[in-house]
């Protein structure tokens, strides 16, 4: 009975960078969505919900200094990719996925969120602009800078870890 839960989770998880905080963000977002349902103009439910998720994630970060610390700590956790060893190819793929994940987590939130909204949620520039509250031109330039930064971070990741 919850619309767009997967999209909400995906954005929350990318912004919070760990499961625990992401779940709090999602839960709070749905409560807010219900509470402010009057303000919804009925055009784009997913975009509206994602805007709430984003806002919730950012206000939580500001409100709770512990959250920021936990996140930093988790960053370090992220870089440890010792998992269950499988066949070599499987392992390789998992390592690539881990590298991509770490590179993405390392991007500033303003870059991370546009990449997630564009590449994973496949929203239009206009929809992204409404969620992030910037003009379309800014969305476009920010996306291209995010892609460049991401590629750079990814290549650094590749050189750093065996």
């Amino acid at each position: 009975m919850l619309p767009h839960l997967d999209a909400a989770w995906n954005l929350a998880r990318h912004l919070a960078r760990n499961d625990h905080d992401a779940e709090d963000v999602v839960q709070e977002s749905y409560l807010r969505a219900l509470r402010y349902f009057d303000a919804f103009q009925g055009r784009n439910a997913r975009g509206w919900l994602l805007a709430i998720v984003r806002h919730t994630a950012y206000t939580r970060r500001r409100r709770d200094p512990m959250a920021a610390i936990t996140t930093e700590f988790n960053d370090e956790l992220h870089s440890d990719t010792t998992g269950p060893a499988g066949p070599e190819r499987d392992l390789e793929r998992r390592e690539t996925a881990g590298r991509v994940q770490r590179a993405l987590d390392r991007l500033p939130p303003r870059f991370r969120e546009v990449l997630v909204l564009r590449e994973l949620e496949e929203l239009t520039y206009e929809e992204i602009g409404r969620i992030v509250r910037v003009p379309i031109g800014t969305v476009m330039s920010r996306l291209s800078r995010a892609r460049a930064r991401f590629a750079q971070t990814l290549s650094e990741e590749g050189g750093g870890t065996p």
Binding site: M1, L2, P3, H4, L5, D6, W9, N10, R13, H14, D19, A22, E23, V26, Q27, Y30, L31, L34, R35, F37, F40, G42, N44, A45, R46, T96, A97, V100, Q101, L104, L115, V116, E119, L120, E122, T124, Y125, M140, R147, F150, A151, L154
Partner: protein, 200 residues
């Protein structure tokens, strides 16, 4: 584009139930008195309507987006050397008959050179699993691909415009045909292109 695929997180098991439980707990609490049940019923009804609308919107959008993505791909494909036009002609009376026998419909071919959009040629393309006529126009050094296909039964032209990676699309329908123009041309001139091709 060698950019690796970004990871998409799937909602963990049990999340839906936990959020639902939280949502169910919530409305009862801040209500001081009165008729909470009526209020709750209202919210529930609104939520159902929202979800139905969202679901419908989602499906509509999904269908439209599949073809939209395919159009961008077809446009990019056409820009590879030697792929732009199978019949290269600036003469509409050469291009239009060329399609006969290659397609089950006859796309309207208009030369808009007088308005600054000279016809370059045409080809048959497959977009999103459907055969389409691709008419190629140019504007200064920009290439415009105009994909034309008959509208399916019950189909309506959805979302008149879109943008992807610096390319723009405008869509319109006329006389049972769907027209989709894609180019790296700016949206304003692409809109002008549509106006030129659809005289009142």
């Amino acid at each position: 584009m060698s950019q690796p695929e970004l990871p998409r997180y799937a909602a963990p098991p049990g999340l839906r139930e936990r959020v639902q439980a939280a949502v169910r707990r919530e409305p009862a609490r801040p209500r001081p008195s009165g008729r909470p049940s009526a209020w709750q019923t209202g919210v529930a009804a609104a939520a159902v309507v929202l979800m139905a609308a969202a679901g419908w919107f989602f499906i509509q959008r999904g269908v439209a987006n599949g073809e939209l993505a395919a159009i961008f791909d077809a446009h990019l494909r056409s820009l590879a050397p030697g792929h732009l036009a199978d019949v290269a002609s600036t003469d509409q009376h050469t291009v239009k008959p060329w399609f006969a026998g290659k397609l089950t419909f006859s796309p309207p071919v208009v030369d808009a050179a007088a308005d600054g959009f000279p016809l370059v040629g045409g080809r048959v393309d497959v977009v999103d699993g459907r055969e389409v006529a691709a008419l190629v126009y140019s504007r200064r050094s920009h290439i415009i691909n105009l994909f034309v296909r008959p509208l399916g039964g019950g189909e309506r032209a959805v979302r008149p415009g879109a943008a992807l990676r610096g390319y723009n699309v405008v869509r319109w329908s006329r006389d049972g045909m769907l027209f989709q123009a894609v180019s790296d041309l700016n949206p304003q001139e692409l809109a002008l292109f549509r106006e030129v091709l659809t005289p009142k």
